[in-house]
């Protein structure tokens, strides 16, 4: 058996944290891009598009993320893609994030007064211009607090990708735990690292919320 000191454990965990952070960023960016597309469909004038987007959101918000990851991991190879844990993790979390972000942004679009659309139309803007220049910037601005709040949720959600074999923080800690038999220390440290990642964002979301409420 290899001897692990406390510092060995911590160093290994810090190395694995990179992957947690990287995965969170990739899923957040990917989820943002797909989320905007879903948002367009959700607020579109075509009924089928709105239906599809609502169904998409209901599906991802109504099933466990773990199931979504499993379906990615086992489903994509059937379509002929060679799948690795990293790909399944990024894609799974991207779709998951897109559903939540689209829903958050839609609430922002809904919160805007009808007059914003009318004003845009009276300036002669067409639909896409209205969205791009008037509606979306405001919708994004007023939903900044819930989006940051969701980012915290997403960072925590990356822990689930350890189950499909992606080597992030929690999976590394399982391996370290199997070698050291010090679960209290190892999982305690993992919790601490996640806390250090998430707590500042939680506080930031809170300050945004307070600022929005004061306005």
């Amino acid at each position: 058996m290899i001897e692990f000191t406390f510092w060995d454990i911590l160093r290994n965990l810090m190395f694995a944290t990179r992957w947690t952070v990287l995965l969170s960023i990739a899923a957040f960016v990917g989820g943002g891009i797909v989320g905007v597309i879903i948002l367009f469909l959700r607020i579109s004038k075509a009924k089928w598009a709105r239906r599809f987007a609502s169904g998409y959101i209901a599906l991802f918000q109504g099933t466990p993320l773990l199931m979504q990851l499993f379906l990615m991991f086992f489903g994509l190879p059937m379509l002929g893609f060679r799948i690795e844990p990293w790909t399944a993790a990024v894609l799974g979390l991207t779709f998951f994030a897109s559903a939540y972000l689209a829903e958050i942004w839609r609430s922002g679009v809904d919160a805007l007064p009808r007059g914003q659309w009318d004003a845009g139309a009276s300036l002669g803007l067409h639909y896409i211009q209205e969205l791009r220049l008037i509606i979306l910037p405001q919708a994004f601005a007023i939903t900044r607090a819930p989006v940051v709040g969701f980012l915290v949720q997403l960072i925590k959600a990356t822990a689930l990708t350890s189950i499909i074999g992606f080597e992030e923080l929690l999976r590394t800690s399982n391996a370290i735990n199997n070698a050291t038999f010090e679960p209290f220390t190892v999982y305690g440290l993992v919790a601490l690292i996640f806390f250090v990642l998430c707590y500042p964002l939680t506080q930031y979301a809170r300050s945004l919320e307070a600022r929005a409420a004061a306005r």
């Binding site: 099933t63 059937m78 822990a159 929690l170 707590y199 939680t202």
Partner: protein, 222 residues
């Protein structure tokens, strides 16, 4: 595409899936009751308890809300035995779920308590009700009415999140799916069916809670 879907295994799997679903329902029912009770106490304690208690509750809420549920579960199930606390998987799962949910619902219940106008408390006190009666009979029902939608969402989220307790071998729905797919070699179909069952459960659970909430909360409260 050469792969074809096969659901032939489903017939022999109904029993296992039903057992798993029953365990998932049991977990969420126990968690909901225990979690809501704890969060009412914690939210009240955070507002009117002694300073040290308020601080302890804040720390608890922040720690739980800023760490993943799966890590909390592993800490309780694998970590606590080194302190001499050895828990059965089901007990560990219920404990982890309850502690997790209570942290979120403490914030929700707290917001509800803050939303009850001060005049309500004053009026109740003027009628000669004791502080505890004021809280239980006047403030709490009104607070619950305000927060019911948020509480419902949190319960559904917790039900979905309970799928990860399969990782400590609690034989709930996801665990049964893991076992099934190992036997049928049909992982995609198995997880698809189980995902749809979760979707159904979340729809039914939400309907049920909204129905119960409407009946019990609107009856006694203006």
């Amino acid at each position: 595409m050469s792969y074809s879907l096969d659901f032939g295994w489903l017939e022999g799997a109904v029993g296992a899936i039903a057992r798993g679903a029953a365990m998932t329902v049991l977990l969420i029912v126990v968690t909901t009751i225990a979690g809501t009770l704890i969060s009412v106490l914690a939210a009240a304690g955070r507002r009117s308890g002694p300073k040290w208690l308020q601080r302890a509750i804040t720390v608890y809420v922040e720690v739980i809300r800023n760490t993943p549920f799966l890590v909390q579960l592993f800490f309780i199930f694998f970590g606590l035995p080194s302190l001499g606390i050895r828990l059965d998987p089901i007990v560990a799962a219920i404990l982890a779920m309850t502690l997790n949910m209570a942290a979120y619902t403490t914030e929700i219940v707290g917001a509800g308590l803050d939303a009850v106008p001060k005049g309500q408390r004053e009026a109740a006190a003027a009628l000669g009700l004791r502080p505890r009666q004021v809280f239980v009979k006047i403030v709490l029902p009104q607070a619950l009415k305000v927060i019911f939608p948020a509480l419902t969402s949190q319960i559904v989220i917790m039900m979905l999140e309970s799928s990860v307790v399969s990782q400590i071998a609690v034989s709930e729905l996801t665990y049964e799916a893991d076992m099934l797919q190992a036997r049928t070699f049909r992982p995609f179909e198995t997880y698809f069916v189980v995902a749809m069952i979760y979707l159904g459960l979340s729809v039914v659970l939400r309907r049920l809670l909204v129905g119960v909430g409407r009946r019990t909360l609107s009856a006694g409260v203006s």
